[in-house]
């Protein structure tokens, strides 16, 4: 019973990671990835590693989505003038 919170967060991580892989559009993948960062931070916290969770929060909640979305925007902008945006 004491491990219920660990089981719940492990399940959440598994489901979110699967959803991140199953999505095809990079923008939607970035949305799922930011939630995955949150859920991973909770998992690290319930496994009594809050320092790892802290850095995971800092990287996963704002930095990873920003990098992915900037790259997606750059790629789209570069593809547009040539042949209608691949």
């Amino acid at each position: 019973m004491a491990d219920a919170v660990i089981v719940v967060s492990l399940l959440l991580v598994a489901v979110t990671a699967t959803a991140a892989v199953a999505n095809r559009d990079p923008a939607r993948q970035a949305l799922v990835l930011s939630v995955l960062g949150l859920v991973l931070a909770v998992l690290f916290t319930v496994l009594q590693a809050p320092d790892v969770g802290l850095s995971q929060l800092a990287v996963g909640s704002a930095l990873t989505p920003l990098l992915i979305m900037l790259s997606v925007r750059r790629v789209k902008r570069r593809g547009q003038p040539k042949d209608g945006g691949r």
């Binding site: 019973m1 004491a2 219920a4 919170v5 719940v8 967060s9 959440l12 489901v15 979110t16 959803a19 991140a20 199953a22 999505n23 923008a27 939607r28 970035a30 949305l31 799922v32 930011s34 939630v35 949150l38 859920v39 931070a41 909770v42 916290t45 319930v46 009594q48 809050p50 969770g53 802290l54 929060l57 800092a58 909640s61 704002a62 989505p65 920003l66 979305m69 900037l70 997606v72 925007r73």
Partner: protein, 150 residues
């Protein structure tokens, strides 16, 4: 397992579960709303976990999340604005429900902690969480059209 951890587990299973389901299915406008509300579901459960484990330093995680979660949502609101102007997400009820959840959690934890510096810290986190949630939600539904396009 004490009551705080039980409450945190239930909040994670219901709130974060709903956020994961919402963010991985459906149209884009529902996904951004779910991403925004995942912060308001996870942050109170982190606060409850800190109280349940009796480790006041775990509260820092909730503080960082309350600060950075709305920043992540603002990133999406800015960089997905072309797709979101066509059908802007409307989630007024959900936003205020999430704000109420955060407020209730913070008030209950304040009552458990008692008047001290820790209580002021909890109040700061609660204000950051609710304010950030409302601002990010308003940015998603196009409330800041004037500042866009910079």
């Amino acid at each position: 397992m004490n009551d705080w951890n039980l409450a945190a587990t239930l909040l994670l299973a219901v709130g974060a579960g709903a956020a994961v389901w919402g963010v991985s299915t459906g149209p884009l406008r529902r996904r951004v709303v779910a991403q925004n509300l995942s912060t308001s579901a996870v942050c109170p459960s982190l606060l409850l976990l800190a109280q349940g484990y009796d480790r006041p330093s775990y509260v820092d995680l909730a503080l960082l999340l309350a600060l950075l979660g709305p920043v992540g949502t603002l990133v999406f609101a800015r960089l997905l604005s072309d797709e979101l102007t066509d059908d802007p997400p409307r989630a007024r009820g959900l936003t205020w429900a999430a704000a109420g959840l955060g407020a209730v959690t913070v008030v209950v934890l304040c009552a458990a902690v008692g008047p001290s510096r820790a209580m002021v810290k909890l109040l700061v986190i609660g204000a950051l969480l609710i304010g950030g949630n409302v601002v990010a939600s308003r940015a998603l539904s196009g409330g800041f059209r004037g500042v866009r396009g910079g």
